[in-house]
């Protein structure tokens, strides 16, 4: 894209105006895709709003950007067939040393974009800095990590503080972009992004970010030379940009746009995400302080109908974890299914026969962020009302909704709230701890000592296989029994791109791996 200054802008406007006035057929229009074989244009849904410091935010758009620029010790592609798959990136191997320690061996041929050679001191600086609970993104990690440098190619990550095992970093290492120790020491990490990824940062002008392929990328230079991403807020604008060739790749296709796109000469990709959508119960207010009422509400909701509304943007799943998460199982004892009779039975047992005597229930949802929340929210409200729940649906735009949805303690907090929870790792603790452990409870506040114990137990098990068994046979049934949040379905990410673009991989939390992407003839 040519750089536009006010001078060139005014000159161009005057010249073009003259040509237009003379009746010339817009000679200045050139379809963008005609010369796009050297670059890729991606339209993002959210703007980059935070610092370049990867630990300064928990913003999805920023995480997507970081995937191109920063390397990680491992990558976790989280495929549905093998959620536990690990691809080594800056590390060449890992092993659990003891309950508190995990060891990584590191590559010796990696350089940061600013020229520093990657080494164990970078891993130490990054882990210790980013896992600091005082960092805004410190909430991703179970506690402060300490890193011991064993030799020039070996580090040991130790869960020094807090009651959690080192093995939790087995997956979490795939979520932490490695920063340069020099940058952290010199407080330069917020000034520019300096990673080891396949693209390096060039510029940022307005909503547009430009990256170029990094010559020294340790897994081979990316075939597409340039990456240009622009924030475009409107979903229709993004779609039309793809259709008219001004964009090569777009995200968050709305379900109603999906069928339209299938008829066009573009590729549409569905990816089962790490995000489940939930109906969160707030147990500090009646009637959901009673677990029987929570279960009654679950039995009142026919999730198959919700999936009909979601169409291509929804995927059937069981329980609270996405199928691409470590520990997912579709056989969970005690999972409530649609059963109006059982719903009525439970309501009567709880002292609300047919909903009589139940206080008004506010159900809070959003519009403009997740697809179809208003539509399926209306359906859920109707299904609950049919069983006697006096539900009032409140639909709010995103900023206002964000203001209320995290209120889980106030006297006017909504008793029901709809959210998703997208995380960038197969690690289930990124979901279960903040949401359902009494120490977190950020969206639901129906924890119990039994549930806390199940959450704590699985995270202290070092052996991955034993831990998986604990999650599937103890934690998930405990969640089904306590039911702090009802898992409605798993979100599906829908991307669309130019047919000629081949070889990209879309991660289930949204980032795209373009390191092998190329333009076909």
């Amino acid at each position: 894209m040519a750089k536009t200054t006010r001078r060139t802008f005014l000159k161009g406007a005057a010249a073009a105006g003259t040509i237009a006035a003379l009746g010339g057929k817009a000679p200045f229009y050139k379809r963008a895709h005609a010369d796009s074989r050297k670059y890729i244009t991606y339209l993002q849904t959210e703007p980059l709003t935070s610092s370049w410091d990867v630990s300064s935010h928990t913003i999805l758009a920023q995480i997507y950007f970081e995937h191109h620029v920063f390397g990680k010790l491992i990558q976790t592609p989280m495929t549905e067939n093998n959620p536990e798959q690990i691809n080594f990136d800056l590390a060449t191997g890992h092993k659990i040393i003891d309950e508190k320690t995990i060891e990584y061996t590191l590559r010796d041929d990696v350089y940061f974009h600013a020229g520093q050679k990657f080494g164990p001191e970078d891993v130490k600086a990054t882990f210790e800095y980013a896992s600091d609970p005082q960092r805004p993104a410190g909430t991703w990690y179970p506690g402060q990590a300490e890193v011991e440098i064993v030799d020039s190619r070996t580090v040991r990550v130790r869960a020094a503080k807090g009651a959690y095992p080192g093995s939790l970093f087995w997956f979490l290492s795939g979520f932490l972009p490695i920063m340069s120790a020099d940058d952290i020491k010199n407080k330069a990490i917020g000034e520019r992004p300096n990673g080891t990824g396949y693209y390096k940062f060039v510029s940022r002008e307005g909503p547009t970010t430009k990256l170029v392929a990094y010559d020294k990328y340790h897994l081979g230079k990316a075939p597409i030379e340039e990456y240009i991403s622009t924030f475009v807020g409107d979903a229709n604008t993004r779609l039309l940009s793809l259709l008219n060739g001004e964009a090569d790749l777009i995200e968050r296709i709305e379900p109603e746009q999906y069928e339209t796109l299938l008829k066009e000469k573009v590729t549409v990709a569905r990816t089962i995400s790490t995000e489940n959508k939930y109906l969160h119960f707030r147990g500090h207010r009646k009637p959901f302080d009673d677990v029987r009422v929570r279960h009654a509400a679950c039995h009142a909701i026919n999730r198959d109908l919700l999936l009909e509304i979601m169409g291509p943007a929804g995927h059937k799943s069981v329980g609270q974890l996405s199928p691409v998460k470590f520990g997912y199982t579709d056989t969970i004892a005690g999972t409530p299914e649609y059963d109006p009779d059982r719903c009525q039975q439970l309501l009567a047992e709880a002292g609300y026969p047919k909903g009589e005597g139940m206080p008004e229930i506010e159900y809070l949802t959003s519009v403009g962020f997740y697809p179809k929340t208003k539509e399926y929210g209306e359906l859920i409200a109707v299904m609950l009302q049919e069983q006697g729940f006096p539900v009032k649906l409140t639909v709010m735009e995103v900023a206002a909704w964000l203001d209320r949805v995290f209120d889980t303690k106030g006297p006017t907090a909504p008793q029901l709230a709809d959210t998703g929870w997208m995380t960038g790792s197969p690690e289930p603790n990124l979901v279960v701890r903040p949401m359902w452990h009494s120490a977190g409870s950020i969206l639901s506040n129906c924890s119990s000592p039994e549930l806390d114990a199940a959450i704590d137990k699985q995270q202290t098990i070092s052996d991955p296989a034993a831990r998986k068994a604990s999650i599937q046979t103890e934690l998930m049934p405990a969640l089904a029994k306590q039911m702090p949040s009802f898992g409605l379905f798993t979100s599906v990410l829908i991307h669309a791109h130019n047919n000629a673009l081949k070889g990209l991989y879309i991660y289930p939390n949204g980032p795209m791996d373009l390191s092998k992407a190329s333009w076909s003839a």
Binding site: T4, F9, G12, A13, A15, A16, G17, A20, A26, F28, Y29, R31, P47, L48, T49, S50, S51, W52, S56, H57, T58, I59, Q62, D132, P133, Q134, R135, P136, A137, T139, W140, K187, I189, G190, S203, R204, E205, G206, P207, T209, T230, V232, G233, D234, N236, T237, L240, S241, L243, N244, E246, A247, G368, M396, V398, A399, A400, L402, D403, F406
Partner: protein, 342 residues
């Protein structure tokens, strides 16, 4: 001359009060409606402690009168504040914490304040960057509006019983029933995606202004067509038209020197009051849909992200522009009709 000076002084003084009131209303309302900019800045997964820390850093937890007094203090010195979210280049603003030994030292805190203060984009710069684009769009939109509306409105007013009046009426009715966002999408699909005649999304040259300007013109034209038709038809009923005919004046002179001149006063007022608002509103929606990098897109994004300083800056600018346009309109009206001097 004395009249003009008195008029300007009086109206400008009134205008300053209006702008001041608008700024306070917008400032207070933004802080009363739900929506915390800090959560949008840092993401949904950060802890409440971090959120509060950042909010206090930005002064968002001070009482509203204190916040407003600080804002006005900066405003009178020409500082509209800095975006919460956009950096100097329009990109990311730093939110990093400089720490030493696990504790934020006073020195580090000051350095961090300075870093944040300098790296966040000044609202004045953001508005300055977007304004030329918006002016270009508004200018081209008005040009297209006048190209369509003046012939239709004039001919409809001059021939109230003929097909010209019907054409003006039906065109106005058709245009006013087309929602601007719908028309924008249809034009992008047909003109840009299917026919490949014009580009549409973003801005890489003047051609990117044409489709949004057409949308704007379709929104504005009905008001001008209808207003002009009615105004001209009304003037045609006046005695001075018959007088001109009796005096043997050429028809074109009667129309341009007398009818149009008399009809232009209500049109000027309409332009000042309605078109200003329509133009601003239309530009906002149109820019957002076409991803056109003007003030409208900047504002809509700021509203969605609760970027208070940008919203406040644009509101003050918009109020100032509307006040000035109306002062100008009133001044021109007094030149057209001396009886309006007051």
């Amino acid at each position: 001359m004395a009249f003009v000076l008195t008029f300007l002084l009086r109206r400008l003084a009134q205008g300053i009060v209006v702008v001041f009131l608008v700024s306070f209303l917008i400032f207070a309302l933004l802080r009363l409606i739900p929506g915390d900019p800090v959560r949008i800045m840092l993401g949904t997964n950060v802890s409440e402690v971090t959120l509060e820390q950042k909010a206090q850093e930005l002064g968002l937890r001070d009482p509203i009168p204190v916040q407003y007094a600080n804002y006005i203090y900066d405003l009178v010195r020409g500082d509209l504040g800095q975006s919460y979210l956009l950096g100097e280049s329009g990109g990311a603003a730093p939110t990093a914490q400089n720490k030493q030994g696990g504790q934020i030292t006073a020195e580090a805190e000051l350095a961090r304040e300075a870093e944040i203060k300098t790296a966040r984009a000044p609202v004045l710069k953001l508005i300055g960057d977007g304004l030329p684009f918006t002016l270009q769009l508004a200018g081209l939109g008005l040009l297209f509006t006048f190209l369509v509306a003046l012939p239709l409105g004039l001919s409809g007013g001059l021939k109230p019983e003929r097909w010209q009046a019907k054409l003006a009426f039906f065109t106005g009715s058709l245009f006013i029933s087309l929602p601007n966002f719908w028309l924008a999408l249809v034009l992008i699909l047909l003109i840009s995606s299917k026919a490949n005649l014009l580009p549409s999304i973003g801005y890489k040259g003047f051609a990117y202004t044409i489709l949004p300007a057409i949308v704007l013109a379709v929104e504005l034209a009905p008001v001008i067509i209808r207003g002009l038709s009615v105004s001209v038809a009304g003037s045609m009923q006046q005695g001075f038209v018959d007088g001109g005919i009796v005096r043997g004046l050429p028809w074109s002179r009667i129309v341009w020197r007398h009818v149009v001149r008399n009809a232009s006063i209500p049109m000027l007022n309409l332009f000042g009051v309605q078109i200003g608002g329509l133009l601003l509103g239309g530009v906002f929606v149109t820019e957002y849909i076409f991803d056109y990098p003007g003030i409208g897109k900047l504002t809509i994004q700021a509203v969605l992200q609760r970027d208070f300083p940008i919203i406040q800056g644009v509101a003050i600018l918009a109020a100032g522009v509307l006040v000035l346009v109306n002062i100008l309109v009133d001044l021109i009206a007094t030149y057209i009709d001396r009886r309006l001097k007051y």
